[in-house]
């Protein structure tokens, strides 16, 4: 992980995306923005903190990436774990990524706990 996690709790974390973060490398020269898949990696990091290293994201029901995240920005990542349901070992949770009060990304995703169903 190459994110500067300022605060980490069950279901939420505050992250500063350092200007020198390698996730900006080549994406894009002269106009760096954080790739959408790096945002999903943030979700997975938070998910694993809350549910263990075996947890993994198995799908995106719907996700919107509506505003770019640029170097040096501080964002808040939140997963609404308790809203999910479970069937055959699959959970569904909603998420938001915000910069201040402004949502930059959001949606819902499917995940496995990594434990036997």
């Amino acid at each position: 992980m190459s994110f500067d996690i300022a605060e980490l709790m069950h279901g939420s974390m505050q992250v500063v995306i350092a200007a020198e973060s390698p996730y900006f490398e080549g994406h894009f020269p002269g106009d760096p923005i954080l790739p959408a898949v790096a945002q999903i990696l943030l979700l997975e990091t938070l998910l694993r903190f809350s549910h263990g290293n075996g947890a993994w994201i198995s799908g995106l029901s719907h996700a919107r990436f509506v505003r770019p995240i640029r170097p040096g920005e501080r964002i808040a990542v939140r997963i609404f774990l308790d809203l999910g349901f479970r069937t055959k070992g699959v959970h569904i949770s909603e998420f938001t990524i915000k910069r201040g009060a402004q949502e930059v990304s959001g949606g819902s995703f499917l995940w496995h706990s990594g434990l036997p169903a």
């Binding site: 973060s21 390698p22 490398e25 080549g26 994406h27 959408a36 790096a38 996700a63």
Partner: protein, 142 residues
């Protein structure tokens, strides 16, 4: 197809560029070869999370748009939506070639919708729908 290799119109450089070659281009779809560079930040112990392959599919969609006859140049595409995208496994080894297909499902310029599939030699790894927002006047990117 407009002149030159459309992959060269991607603004991704170095470890951020996953798509390496166009294998097939049709009226409504494109098939590309993709590799995850070993030096990419997503790689740990020679593997990466399967969702990282969504970036390869988005790049294929961007290459499709860049190779449209009469496509405005330059332009940049952003991955702004993902819908019903499923990942077959938690992670994949990166020491292999991936094949990514992006099929245009609809458009309301500057927004384009693609059905995407990513597979390796043995199995399908990812499938679903993504939305690309195209900004004219900058290099093509996702």
């Amino acid at each position: 197809m407009t002149g030159g290799d459309p992959i060269d119109r991607l603004p991704h450089e170095g470890v951020a560029r996953f798509v390496t070659r166009v294998l097939d281009r049709r009226d409504a779809s494109i098939t590309c070869e993709a590799w995850i560079p070993a030096g990419a930040s997503y790689v740990r112990n020679g593997r990466c999370s399967t969702f990282v392959l969504m970036e390869a599919a988005a790049q294929a969609a961007a290459v499709f748009l860049a190779s449209e006859p009469g496509a405005p140049q330059p332009s940049r595409g952003y991955l702004v939506r993902a819908q019903e995208v499923s990942f077959a496994k938690s992670e994949v080894p990166i020491d292999r070639r991936f094949e990514t297909v992006a099929e245009r499902m609809g458009e309301a310029d500057p927004y384009y919708k693609f059905h995407i599939v990513v597979r390796d030699e043995s199995q399908m790894l990812l499938r679903g729908t993504i939305g690309i927002y195209v900004e004219r006047g900058s290099a093509t990117g996702v």
